[in-house]
C-alpha cells in the first residue's frame, strides 16, 4: 500500500524547553511506501499552514533547528541492496546528499520548496522517483537530520514525535563521538535503554522532558547526546558526499573524418584538457572509453584498460591510436559497433563525433630507490607493449609464466611487469642425475616429424625432410625417458584446453595428452637434440635442439 501523509508534530514542543506551541505551523512530511501498486493518496495541507519552508523566523529561532533547513531521509526497506541507484535518485533532487548508513541517505532539500512546493509535495515526488527506479524505500522529511531519520524508521508514522519509542534512537548513535561505538558489545550498547526502562522512560517525549543536568549526572555524555536526539537536534553537521567527478570530453566534427591521421589530432584536442583535469584532481586514468558516432548512425565503442593509472596526454593518445590500428576502425570486430546494420561497404563510413571518458583512480605515488636500477616506467612499458602487440600480436608479447604441470612446454603468456615477484612451480623439472641444469633447449613449438632408424632398441640415425633441421648418424644416445600425462582429460575439458594452449601435446584419439619416449641424442655433425617417439602413433618428432 502506498500512503502519504503529513503528521503534525506540534506536540513535540512540550518536551523541548523554550519551544512555544507552533502546532499550527510546524509540519513534517513523511511519505511511506510499502507496495507501489496503489496510487498515491494526495495529502491535503492544513489550512493556514505553509509547511516547514514557510515557518516564520521567530518559530525557527525558538526551535533552534536552523533557519529554513529541511532534510529528507530515504531509507531502503531491505538492507544489502546497492545504494548507488538510491544516490542517483537523490542527486536528481539535490546536489547535497549524504550517506548516513548503508541503507539510509540524507538529502538536503532546503529551498526546494520554491521549485517543487511544500514538503508533502517534495515527499510525493521523491517517492514517485523511487518507484520509477524500482526501489522500495521510505521517505521522511524533517527540519533536522535526526527527525528525518527517526521518522524514516518509525513503523507508526502517525504517532506524534513524543509518542515514538525511545529505542528508535539506537541506530542514530552509530558514528557519534559521545554515543555507541562499533567496539561496544551489545550489553554496553543497550545499557542506557535498560536504565530508561527502569526509570519508566518509554517515549522520546519522556526522555526530552527530563532535566538535562540530571541526565548528565546520571548517564554522562551519552545520556546528554541521547536527550539531544530525543529533542530532534542534530549532533553532527550535514557533510554532503563528494560526487564522483567524471572526466569526459566530446567533440562534434564539422567535417567527418575517415582515417586515423586526422583522428589523432582530434584525440589530442580531447585528451589535453582531460589530462590537465586529471592532474588538477591528482588522479590518473585506469581506462579510456572511446565512443565514436559514425556517419551510418552506428556507434563505435572501445574500452581500453590501462595497466596503471596514467595521465600523460601523449601516452594516452598513442595507446588509443595503437589500439585502433590493431583493431582497424572500419574493419574491426562487429561487436564493437552498436546500432543499425550498415548497408554499404566499410569504406564509406566516416566519423561524425568523438567522445572520450577517462575512468579516474588515485594517482600513483612513485618512490625511486638510490640503490636499485631504474626500471622502465609503466607509461613506457604500456606504450612499448602496445606497439609490439600491434606488430606481432597481443598473444606474442609479454612475460612467460610456467604452469604447474609436467606437460611439455607448459607455459603461458602474461603481462610484462618487471616489478612483480613470482614463485617457480614445484613441477619445474631439474636436470636428471646432476645438480647442473641441462643446456638451454631451442624448442620447436610445432615439433617437426623426423625419420629415425632404430637398432636393438636405440636410435642410430636421424633424417628430416624439413630444411634447416639437423640430420645424420647418431653417435650418442641417452634414454628413453618415458613421459605421459593428460590421458584423463579430453580436448573439451578445461585441463585439455590448458594442454593444447601449452602446446607440445599430441592428439591421442579424442584425448588431449602426451605419451612418449624421450631421447637425448648427439649427431655426428655435433648437434645435440631431444627427440621423442609418440607411443600412440609410433611417430618420431624433434622436440628441440640443445644449445
Amino acid at each position: 500500500m502506498y500512503h502519504h501523509r503529513i503528521p503534525c508534530y506540534g506536540d513535540l514542543t512540550p518536551g523541548i524547553p523554550g519551544v512555544v506551541d507552533t502546532k499550527a505551523a510546524t509540519h513534517l512530511a513523511a511519505g511511506i511506501r510499502d507496495t507501489p501498486d496503489v496510487p498515491a493518496v494526495p495529502s491535503t495541507p492544513r489550512p493556514g499552514s505553509g509547511g516547514v519552508a514557510a515557518l516564520d523566523a521567530k518559530a525557527i529561532s525558538e526551535w533552534e533547528f536552523g533557519a529554513g533547513n529541511l532534510y529528507a531521509c530515504v531509507r531502503l526497506e531491505s538492507g544489502g541492496a546497492p545504494l548507488a541507484p538510491l544516490l542517483a535518485v537523490a542527486r536528481d533532487f539535490s546536489p547535497r546528499v549524504m550517506t548516513a548508513t548503508e541503507r539510509e541517505v540524507l538529502v538536503d532539500i532546503s529551498g526546494l520548496g520554491r521549485l517543487i512546493g511544500p514538503p508533502d509535495e517534495i515527499a510525493r515526488q521523491l517517492a514517485h522517483a523511487l518507484f520509477d527506479a524500482r526501489l522500495t524505500a521510505r521517505v521522511a522529511i524533517g527540519p533536522t537530520q535526526t527527525i528525518a531519520r527517526v521518522l524514516a524508521q518509525a513503523d507508526a508514522a502517525r504517532d506524534a514525535w513524543t509518542q515514538l519509542p525511545v529505542h528508535l534512537l539506537q541506530p542514530l548513535e552509530a558514528g557519534l563521538k559521545a554515543g555507541a561505538t562499533p567496539a561496544m558489545n551489545d550489553r554496553d550498547r543497550a545499557r542506557p535503554y535498560e536504565t530508561f526502562d527502569r526509570w519508566g522512560i518509554v517515549t522520546l517525549g519522556d526522555l526530552a522532558a527530563l532535566p538535562a543536568a540530571d541526565v548528565a549526572s546520571r548517564l554522562g555524555r551519552r545520556g546528554v547526546a541521547l536527550q539531544q536526539l530525543a529533542r530532534g537536534r542534530d549532533l553532527r553537521p550535514f557533510v554532503p558526499d563528494r560526487e564522483a567527478r567524471r572526466f569526459i570530453e566530446r567533440l562534434e566534427l564539422e567535417w567527418p573524418i575517415d582515417n586515423l591521421e586526422p583522428l589523432s589530432f582530434v584525440l589530442a584536442r580531447l585528451l589535453d584538457p582531460l589530462s590537465a583535469a586529471l592532474e588538477r584532481a591528482d588522479r590518473g586514468a585506469v581506462a579510456i572509453r572511446l565512443e565514436m558516432r559514425l556517419t551510418d548512425r552506428s556507434t563505435f565503442a572501445r574500452v581500453l584498460p590501462l595497466p596503471v593509472p596514467m595521465r600523460d596526454a601523449r601516452v594516452l593518445r598513442t595507446l588509443l591510436l595503437l589500439a585502433l590500428e590493431s583493431q582497424p576502425l572500419f574493419g574491426g570486430p562487429r561487436e564493437d559497433r552498436k546500432g543499425p546494420p550498415r548497408s554499404g561497404g566499410s569504406s564509406d563510413v566516416m566519423i561524425d563525433s568523438v567522445s572520450i571518458e577517462l575512468d579516474p583512480a588515485p594517482a600513483r605515488i612513485v618512490r625511486f630507490s638510490l640503490l636499485d636500477r631504474a626500471l622502465p616506467s609503466p607509461e613506457t612499458l604500456a606504450t612499448l607493449t602496445a606497439r609490439l602487440s600491434a606488430l606481432v600480436g597481443e598473444s606474442s608479447v609479454g612475460s612467460a609464466v610456467l604452469l604447474d604441470s609436467h606437460a611439455p612446454d607448459a607455459i603461458e603468456m602474461t603481462r610484462f611487469d618487471p616489478e612483480s615477484r613470482r614463485e617457480v612451480p614445484a613441477s619445474t623439472r631439474a636436470a636428471p642425475g646432476g645438480s647442473l641444469p641441462l643446456p638451454a633447449l631451442r624448442r620447436q613449438r610445432q615439433p617437426p616429424a623426423i625419420r629415425v632408424a632404430v637398432e636393438r632398441g636405440r636410435p642410430v640415425h636421424l633424417a628430416s625432410s624439413t630444411r634447416g633441421m639437423p640430420y645424420g648418424a647418431i653417435v650418442e644416445a641417452a634414454g628413453p625417458w618415458r613421459a605421459s600425462g593428460g590421458w584423463w582429460t579430453t580436448e573439451g575439458s578445461e585441463d585439455g584446453r590448458l594442454r593444447q594452449r601449452a602446446g607440445g601435446t599430441r592428439r591421442v584419439g579424442a584425448r588431449a595428452g602426451w605419451n612418449r619416449d624421450e631421447w637425448d641424442v648427439a649427431l655426428k655433425s655435433g648437434a645435440l637434440c631431444r627427440i621423442y617417439r609418440d607411443r600412440s602413433t609410433e611417430c618420431w618428432f624433434l622436440e628441440g635442439i640443445y644449445d
Binding site: R373, A400, L441
Partner: protein, 238 residues
Amino acid sequence: MRAALESLLRARQLDVTLTACDAPLPADRVAPTGDPALDAALGGGLKRGHLSEIVGAASTGRSTLVARLLAAATARGEATAIVDACDTWDPISAVAHGVALERVLWIRVRAPRASAAPDGAGESEGRTSSDTTGASLRALKAFSLILQAGGFGLVVFDLADVAPLAIRRFPLTTWMRAARAIEGRDTVALLVGAERIARSAGGATLALDTPRATWRGATSRARLFTGVDPAPRVVKAR
C-alpha cells in the same frame, strides 16, 4: 698527444667509437656475465651502451650463454627483453638457469604457416622465404622499438635460426641505427646468430666454436647427457 685526445673525447662523451682505449670502465658501465673467466676476458663484462654478439653453430652453447646472461641481469634487478625471431626460446630451460621470468619481456615472432598438417608434420615446409623474411623484419622492428624505449639492461635479438640470407636482406644501416639508439645508455644489446652479424665499436663478439657436450655412464644403457659447457672466445676490436 693520443692520450690527451682520448681524454678530451671521453670528457665530451664522444668516446663511443674509441677502440684503442683499454682504460678500465667503471663498474656501472659494464654488465657482468656471471662467469668470472668470461668477465675477466671482457674486462668486467659486456659494455653497456654497445652492441655485442654471440656467434656459433647449433649446440655450441649460444642459448645457454644467453640464459646465463639473462640470469645475471635479472638477478641484478634489471629489466631484460628477448626478441625471439623464430619462437624457439624455452622459458623452462631459462628458469633452470636462474632467470627470473617476470623480468624478461619475451617477443615471439612467428612466421605465418601456409598450411598445417593435422599431425603437425611438415609444417615448416609450408613456410616460404618471404614469410621468413617478413617475420625477420618484424622481429627487427620489435628490436628497434625496445632499444628506443630504453630502460632495459639487456636486450637479446635471437637470430640463430634465421637464414643468413634473410639477415643480409636487412637494411644496411640497421645495426648502425641500433648502436646509435643505445649509445650512452645502460642497455647491452646482444645479437645471437650462426654467423657474425654486427657489433658496435666497443662491443664484443663471443664466438663459440665447437660443441663441448658432456656425457656420463660407461655402457650404452647407462649413458646420461649432463650438459654443454660453452667456451666462448672473446673477439674485440682490439
